[in-house]
């Protein structure tokens, strides 16, 4: 009798140990962050990006810039977001950015990121989203019904058109012009026309481009309101 009770006790002890060790191993909850040593050193004193603080509306630290604030290097865009504005930009808006290999290369990179999913790497409207039928009816840049100019390319990136959204929050002015250069080249390739000529007068215009880059670097985050 006594022996069996001892056995039982042993079994209980063993099972407790097993359960406890299982609990220790499995208690990491992937749903909540881990413990920290010395929280004060981990958590910032100031307001952290995307933080939650009572002082803000909706406790949301991510805010729009104050109304009327102008980011450094920002230049006003004169054409309004309407059909008339698009037509005006199509006719009038000209590219001041000199065509250089660096800009074209950068334009291609950016095009691959933002445009190629729909418009395709060749600009023929056969991007992966089109092939997978997530989007339908994306036209080729060489479509005869569309009179695409550098001004219209820039304008459409700025405001979007029909199903296409605005890319003003993801790119800045310089980047949009770089993309424009690449799109012009893609269109020329599709139509079998010669590509953009590289600007020869490098000195004077390179300076303009330099100004643009410096100023534009700041504008990114503040443009998100568009």
């Amino acid at each position: 009798m006594t022996k069996t009770t001892i056995n039982m006790k042993k079994a209980i002890h063993i099972s407790i140990v097993i359960i406890a060790s299982l609990a220790m191993v499995s208690c990491f909850d992937s749903n909540s962050p881990n413990y920290q040593y010395m929280n004060n050193m981990y958590e910032p004193v100031g307001y952290e990006t995307y933080g939650e603080y009572e002082i803000f509306e909706n406790e949301m630290e991510a805010k729009l810039p104050a109304e009327g604030s102008i980011p450094r290097g920002w230049m006003p865009y004169e054409y309004e977001n309407s059909t008339a504005g698009l037509e005006q930009a199509r006719a009038e808006l000209k590219m001041t950015l000199p065509v250089t290999e660096e800009h074209l290369e950068r334009g291609e990179e950016l095009y691959e990121i933002y445009c190629a999913v729909c418009h395709g790497t060749k600009g023929d409207g056969q991007g992966i989203l089109m092939q997978r039928e997530k989007f339908l009816g994306i036209p080729s840049y060489a479509d005869p019904g569309r009179n695409i100019t550098e001004g219209s390319i820039y304008h459409v990136q700025m405001y979007g058109l029909n199903s296409m959204g605005s890319y003003a929050s993801q790119t800045n002015e310089l980047e949009r012009w770089q993309i424009t250069q690449h799109v012009m080249n893609l269109m020329a390739a599709l139509k079998g026309e010669p590509a953009l000529e590289l600007s020869s007068d490098s000195e004077g215009e390179a300076e303009v481009a330099g100004d643009m880059t410096e100023g534009e670097a700041e504008t990114v985050e503040t443009e998100e309101t568009n």
């Binding site: 992937s30 050193m41 981990y42 952290e48 019904g145 199903s163 929050s169 790119t171 990114v220 998100e224």
Partner: protein, 439 residues
């Protein structure tokens, strides 16, 4: 989060397939009928071929028009009833001309849709347009939701799953153990009652006593125990503050697997500030709406095991619409927004500085190097430990990308000479200095 509803995959799938088959066969039937109906309604010219119309529709119209729902332009289901054919021909070939000519219908529709200009399609022939109009009579397919729902309910009772089998096995095992103990007990009792003698083995020393008397063994065991507990204690203490594997439930179930994996959208498309800012920003909802203005339903692959059905994903898209205040029926923003409270996963302690643009743009490192195979993650989790040792290891192993960096060319050359190497690592450039990250 997600209830596991769909346990009985094989049986369900076959039923589902059957249901799909049935629904599709009926729709094709219906299509033909409606095509006939279309020609009856619009008797002006010959019949259209709905199948050819579908191809044309998808290639030319679908960017702005949907059949049963407003898009950029009106829903086109049964458009042949609303306008006569001649009018449609001239509208589709050049809508602007029609508007300028002062056609009342044309001006009305132009004003109704915010004066957005419909692209001219001069290349479409009368026959092409007839085909497209025939296609617009395709009736809306019956939602397959209902059928899948019923098959699931029906299939719930059948076929035990792995979990149930395991539980049953465990129960049987437990019963066996209990029975063994009981049998042992009763046997002893019977033995005692009958006066049967059995060896108790009392004369031998209990094993723990023998162990306690052997001092060497006690010494070795205690050393071993101490070492083992130190090892585990060290391991436990080192994981404090590390969130590797942290995968919180987000307010909207956003699948990186679908977006970055199946649809191959570049990381920078949404996290555009990673290219030029300290933070890789959480995209504002306008970025989602760049695509989801058009994509209101999920039609991709399902993962029934985990309950990720089409309805589930579609419902998540509706959550996005609610948050951003998008009225799907009117294709317009209502202005009633509800910010989404995303849960931040990767968070370095305040005393460590990290800059995304420096790694993404300057060094050209792939996002996956630190964030792991995000394109395979249905639920985003922290892949790397983000510890200092982890950072430093990479700085020791990674070579500096010197391409297009003329400004620093000279110092790179001198440093290479100093260390006697061809390729500088980040560490040799000072990537291990405390002040680079802690200040």
């Amino acid at each position: 989060m997600i209830k596991v509803k769909f346990r009985n995959l094989p049986t369900q799938l076959s039923l589902l397939l059957l249901a799909l088959l049935l629904t599709f066969s009926t729709t094709t039937y219906a299509q033909e009928e409606s095509a006939e109906a279309a020609t009856e309604v619009a008797p002006a010219t010959g019949e259209g071929d709905a199948a050819a119309g579908k191809t044309l529709f998808n290639a030319n119209c679908a960017a702005c028009h949907k059949l049963y729902k407003k898009g950029v332009g009106p829903a086109l289901f049964g458009v042949g009833d609303k306008y006569d054919k001649e009018w449609l021909y001239s509208w589709i070939r050049n809508s602007q001309e029609l508007i300028k000519s002062g056609d009342a219908k044309a001006i009305a529709i132009y004003e109704e849709y915010n004066q957005s200009v419909m692209t001219a399609f001069p290349a479409l022939s009368d026959e092409d347009i007839d085909n497209i109009i025939a296609y617009t009579y395709t009736p809306k397919p019956e939602p397959t939701v209902a059928t899948t729902g019923t098959t699931n309910v029906g299939g719930d009772g059948e076929g035990p799953t792995n979990n149930i089998i395991l539980a049953a096995l465990a129960l049987i095992f437990l019963l066996l153990v209990v029975m063994l103990i009981l049998v042992n007990k009763t046997l002893r009792r019977i033995a005692e009652a009958n006066g049967v003698e059995y060896e108790e083995g009392e004369k031998r020393l209990p094993i723990w006593k023998a162990f306690a008397q052997n001092q060497f063994l006690v010494f070795v065991t205690s050393v071993f125990l101490l070492l083992a507990s130190a090892y585990f204690a060290y391991g436990w203490m080192m994981q404090v503050g590390i969130d590797q594997g942290y995968a919180p439930v987000q307010p909207i179930h956003y699948s990186h697997k679908i977006h970055a994996g199946a649809n191959q959208i570049d990381c920078n498309y949404c996290h555009s500030s990673a290219r030029k800012s300290k933070h890789s920003g959480i995209p504002s909802l306008n970025v989602c709406m760049n695509c989801h203005k058009n994509i209101a339903e999920y039609n991709g692959e399902e993962d029934l095991e985990n309950g990720y059905t089409k309805e589930f994903y579609t419902n998540e898209i509706k959550k996005l619409y609610k948050a951003v205040g998008w009225d799907e029926n009117n294709q317009a923003y209502t202005g009633e927004e509800e910010p989404v409270k995303w849960v931040r996963i990767h968070n370095l302690p305040d005393f460590a500085y990290f800059n995304h643009s420096q790694h993404v743009t300057v060094a050209g490192i792939e996002c996956q190097k630190c964030h792991g195979p995000v394109e395979e993650m249905e639920i985003m989790y922290q892949f790397s430990p983000l510890t200092m040792g982890w950072c430093i290891n990479c700085h020791r192993e990674t070579n500096v990308d010197l391409k297009g960096n003329e400004y620093y060319q000279k110092i790179h050359e001198e440093l290479s000479k100093k260390y006697g190497v061809d390729q500088l690592t980040i560490a040799q450039m000072g990537g291990l200095e405390c002040g680079k990250c802690h200040y």
